[in-house]
Subunit: 154 residues, 2 copies
Amino acid sequence: MDPRHEVALDQVLELTVLLAEDMAGSLGRDGLTPARAHLLWVLRERGPSTQVVLADALRVSARNVTGLVDALEAADLVARRPHPTDRRATLVGLTEQGGTITARMAHDKALLAAGLFGGLGTEQVQTFSDTLAGVLDRLKVMVADAADTSREPT
Amino acid sequence: MDPRHEVALDQVLELTVLLAEDMAGSLGRDGLTPARAHLLWVLRERGPSTQVVLADALRVSARNVTGLVDALEAADLVARRPHPTDRRATLVGLTEQGGTITARMAHDKALLAAGLFGGLGTEQVQTFSDTLAGVLDRLKVMVADAADTSREPT
DNA sequence: TATTGTTATACTCTATAACTATA
DNA sequence: TATAGTTATAGAGTATAACAATA
């Protein structure tokens, strides 16, 4: 009922829209979609991975990973190679060009962080971050509760 | 270069992911997708509108609006009727059931706002909101600049 | 001529189910 | 038996281009 809460939520929602737009724009310049960029990012963090691991990390189906890897392989951003010990599995790794692009993504992300928060004082950033941490915790609880409720629909 | 900025951005990005998940979950219970819910929401705010107006508000192609309206009409959430003065145009409006659902969406949104910010003090919400307003302003400038640069590629 | 909405076509992301090869 | 990845199929969101009806 407090209008300040609704205003704050509206601001957060606007932020999500603008961020998605900004990031899609950056990725588009590299010819990447958000889903494909996400996969590259996971590879950058985890190193060469099987497709099952990628599906789990991205929280999508194995089938979907096949498609994303197909597209990224065609663009020479990732390469498939046989798993050394499990002959069922495939190891997906970044190519040199994939490494270059993910490095640029990391750089762009740092620029974005600086652009958004660079004008704020250290205390202000800290306060914002602390508040956000609390909000995130509450949201996680709400998401978990909703999942429980829908799984057990009394 | 300040790690606090990157941490804050990571928190914001996590928030966007969790929010999208939470909202998709709520909508899913109504059998709605985010795109269709967005169209309903615009209709709730603006009242009956032509498809061109909807395409503009949603920032998607006219073709896309045709598809979304087709689906929502099949679910009896919106209805097409002839425009009173322009015989080329169609007016799309919420049905009674569409009104019920958008009212529930508004209610859910208020619940979400209360859940996220209800535990915070008035001052804390205000401070958060003020900081967020500044961040939003800076982001808008960055998005606008990026659009200029890509339109006029030196 | 310009605008509104549709048909035609295509690409991406997503999912489930059935299947092959391997563990 | 169970797991890794693929093929088959399908639905949703998105786009551009061509077109009909109307302004």
